[in-house]
């Protein structure tokens, strides 16, 4: 919320620029504006910016290429994790600039971002149904969502009870409580993100006219907090 002016609204900015999706940085800006925690990040235009950008960020960091031509950054070699110094970040960027799938693309910069602490990987999604309007989804990350399709949907706006029931409905819900020696995920943190995305004044309701699909993947949830580590918003 708090996005009444057009210049700080990434959805309006992306539409004005004729884009059909928000890039990662704009997506996180949108999430942050709605109160969803995202990792601290800065954009480096190139190697020359790295020292200034690293100033004030906690290591380790991850570097991700920013390009409207690259949909799947990892597959293209555009993501390098666990970098512990400016030197390592510079080397990573130089490596990307030479990667075959990145070389020819339009490059807008490199997102240098603090790495989220370890936790459970979840996916929170959004979708606009032609008849019913916005829906919100939650699932556990990795094979749970990709292979087992263990997800639950609700129509927006959802209430706190809806959010609780969405999580309880997952077949893998027990894992979030801490199975096989892992720490439990904070249920409050997950519910709060679901409400900020799919609740009464949530992101999907406010932008129902513009956002057709959304993926927050992964949302890393520790026993105290939930952080949106990557996000995609499709406009239209």
């Amino acid at each position: 919320m708090g996005m009444n002016t057009t210049q700080d609204n990434p959805v309006v900015a992306a539409k004005r620029a004729g884009r059909n999706a928000l890039d990662e940085s704009a997506g996180k800006q949108l999430l942050a504006a709605h109160g969803v925690k995202v990792p601290q990040s800065r954009v480096a235009k190139g190697v020359a910016d790295v020292d200034a950008v690293m100033n004030g960020l906690q290591t380790p960091v991850v570097v991700k290429v920013m390009s409207p031509d690259i949909l799947h950054k990892s597959d293209a070699g555009g993501v390098k994790i666990n970098l512990r110094s400016a030197t390592e970040v510079k080397a990573a960027i130089e490596g990307m600039l030479n990667a075959p799938k990145i070389k020819g693309a339009r490059i807008e910069g490199f997102l240098v971002e603090e790495m989220a602490p370890a936790g459970h990987e979840l996916v929170i999604g959004g979708l606009r149904d032609p008849q019913f309007g916005p829906l919100v989804m939650v699932g556990l990350g990795g094979i749970f969502v990709e292979i087992l399709k263990d997800v639950s949907f609700r129509l927006c706006p959802i209430t706190r009870i809806d959010a609780e029931e969405m999580i309880a409905e997952l077949k893998g819900a027990a894992i979030l409580k801490g199975a096989r020696g892992t720490k439990p995920a904070s249920m409050d943190a997950i519910i709060n993100v679901l409400l900020k995305v799919g609740g009464e004044n949530g992101l999907l309701m406010q932008h129902a006219a513009d956002i057709s699909e959304a993926d927050i993947n992964p949302l890393i949830v520790s026993d105290t907090a939930a952080v949106a580590v990557d996000a995609r918003f499709i406009l239209g």
């Binding site: 999604g125 979708l127 008849q131 949907f153 057709s212 699909e213």
Partner: protein, 478 residues
């Protein structure tokens, strides 16, 4: 104008116009005239005909604007292309027009004609039902399109996007003891949608249970909003056709690709407390339980006791009910001890399921059930009791009144422990004609007492689980 005032001319019309009746008396609208007369319609019927002075003994009028009194409900079954002109000429003289004719939006070449029909209805100042439907069945208004159906006005309100299924619902309802506050077939829903009728039924004091057969919900968001705002004030049962065809053909995101099949409808049910069913039988079965039993959110149904004859049937039902989330668990020791003290004949199982062979149930001509059930109710504290009787095991072995006595005994215990337990009767038979006739007669008696009756344990399980879900929803949300 509130929704009740708006829809009263449809559900209780004082004047009915009929377009398409022939002077020879053999067209579908002639049949409609005959049916509403037989059903006891006492208002004015106005056949509309370009040339005839009289149809079926009734004075005919040239257009909808020429009738002596304004028309509450017009039944229209003539070739589609003529209809827009007729509606536009009504000049505010008609409240509801139901277009039975097809050849509109359900086929590509009829889409323009449907748009024309909608603007004509607007120009004529009326609400439009259909096109491509069968009609209305409204016992309070003595109007019906169906050949047979319950004569009495009941409490179950139905809207159906399929006319044929609408007929099935009325006919099966008649056989099963459902009584309706109304049934409207809406076909292509060019103007009036299932959501409009849902709004009416929610407000209508005559309606206590709502059933909807939906194929497409063009105004899905409105349907969701109405159901959400209703806060499960009345049970709503939805039979959704085409649930597997949903989903986005070309999804760009992960979420989009996962949204296929019927997840929207499942979400709608979970969020609003409405109940989704998969088959026509489940639809009728679920409506029947809500017609007969009052939901009890203060103590949602979980603990179920099975009582009757048939050991294997009890075992199978125990498994089936637990898969539906219901508990059929053995009694605590004091209940078992109290039942053991009755010294019932060998072969009687008293732990829950309570399995009593006919030899046990016919003691004291069936009145033994009162003592058994008294102990079950006072000690076992069931939240629902399913009494099942395998009729073939009784016939020829017991006096005919044993069955009546068993049910009467159960009803007395029900009265002695008000609000303790839902009571459901399963009458099992095998298709043998004599036995089926006996069952039908016996079922009618039980239904008249307000007992929901099912053919098999599994058929009773789904509605019972739906009742439990509805009660839990209300307990958690309201």
């Amino acid at each position: 104008m509130n929704i009740i005032e708006e829809f009263t001319p449809l559900f209780a019309p004082k004047t009915v116009a009929v377009i398409g009746a022939s002077t020879k008396g053999n067209a579908l609208p002639n049949v409609f005239i005959r049916r509403i007369r037989e059903f006891g319609f006492s208002g004015d019927i106005y056949p509309i005909h370009p040339a005839a002075a009289e149809i079926d003994g009734l004075t005919a009028y040239k257009t909808l604007a020429d009738t002596p009194k304004p028309v509450d409900y017009a039944y229209i079954a003539v070739s589609g292309a003529q209809i827009p002109g007729m509606l536009a000429a009504a000049k505010g003289h008609v409240r509801f027009a139901q277009v039975i004719s097809s050849g509109f939006g359900e086929v590509d070449e009829g889409k323009d004609l449907q748009a024309e029909l909608v603007s004509a209805a607007q120009a004529g100042g009326m609400r439009l039902l259909g096109p491509n439907c069968l009609g209305i069945y409204t016992p309070r208004g003595r109007v019906t399109f169906a050949e047979i159906g319950p004569k009495e006005t009941g409490h179950v309100g139905i809207v159906s996007q399929s006319g044929g299924l609408g007929t099935d619902i009325i006919r099966r309802g008649l056989a099963r003891g459902l009584k309706f506050s109304g049934l409207v077939t809406v076909g292509n829903c060019a103007d009036v949608t299932p959501s409009d009728l849902l709004e009416f039924y929610l407000a209508d004091p005559q309606t206590r249970v709502i059933g909807m057969y939906i194929e497409t919900a063009k105004d899905g968001r409105r349907l969701f909003d109405i159901l959400r705002n209703a806060k499960a004030a009345k049970p709503v049962v939805i039979l959704k056709g085409g649930r597997t065809q949903q989903g986005l053909a070309a999804a760009a995101s992960h979420t989009g690709s996962l949204a296929g099949d019927d997840r929207v409808w499942v979400a709608l049910a979970r969020q609003t407390g409405c109940m989704l069913v998969d088959t026509l039988d489940q639809f009728v079965d679920t409506l029947l339980i809500f017609q007969s039993l009052t939901p009890r959110p203060q103590r949602p149904t979980q603990k179920v006791v099975l009582f009757g004859n048939g050991g294997g049937t009890s075992v199978l039902a125990t498994d089936y009910y637990s898969r539906l989330g219901l508990d059929v668990t053995p009694f605590a020791q004091e209940a078992i001890d109290a039942l053991a003290d009755m010294k019932l004949p060998p072969g009687t199982s008293i732990t829950n399921p309570v399995d009593c062979p006919v030899g046990t149930l016919q003691q004291d001509d069936g009145r033994v059930a009162e003592k058994i059930l008294d102990i079950i109710y006072s000690q076992g504290k069931p939240e629902a009791l399913v009494m099942h009787l395998n009729l073939s095991a009784f016939v020829g072995r017991t006096k005919p009144e044993v069955l009546d006595n068993l049910v009467a005994a159960a009803m007395r215990v029900q009265e002695k422990y008000p609000g303790q337990s839902h009571f459901i009767l399963v009458l099992r038979s095998d298709g043998e004609p004599g036995l089926e006739a006996r069952k039908r007669e016996f079922r009618d008696k039980a239904v008249a007492l307000g007992v929901p009756v099912y053919d098999e344990m599994a058929n009773a399980g789904h509605p019972l689980a739906a009742l439990a879900t509805f009660e839990r929803f209300k307990a958690a949300r309201t």
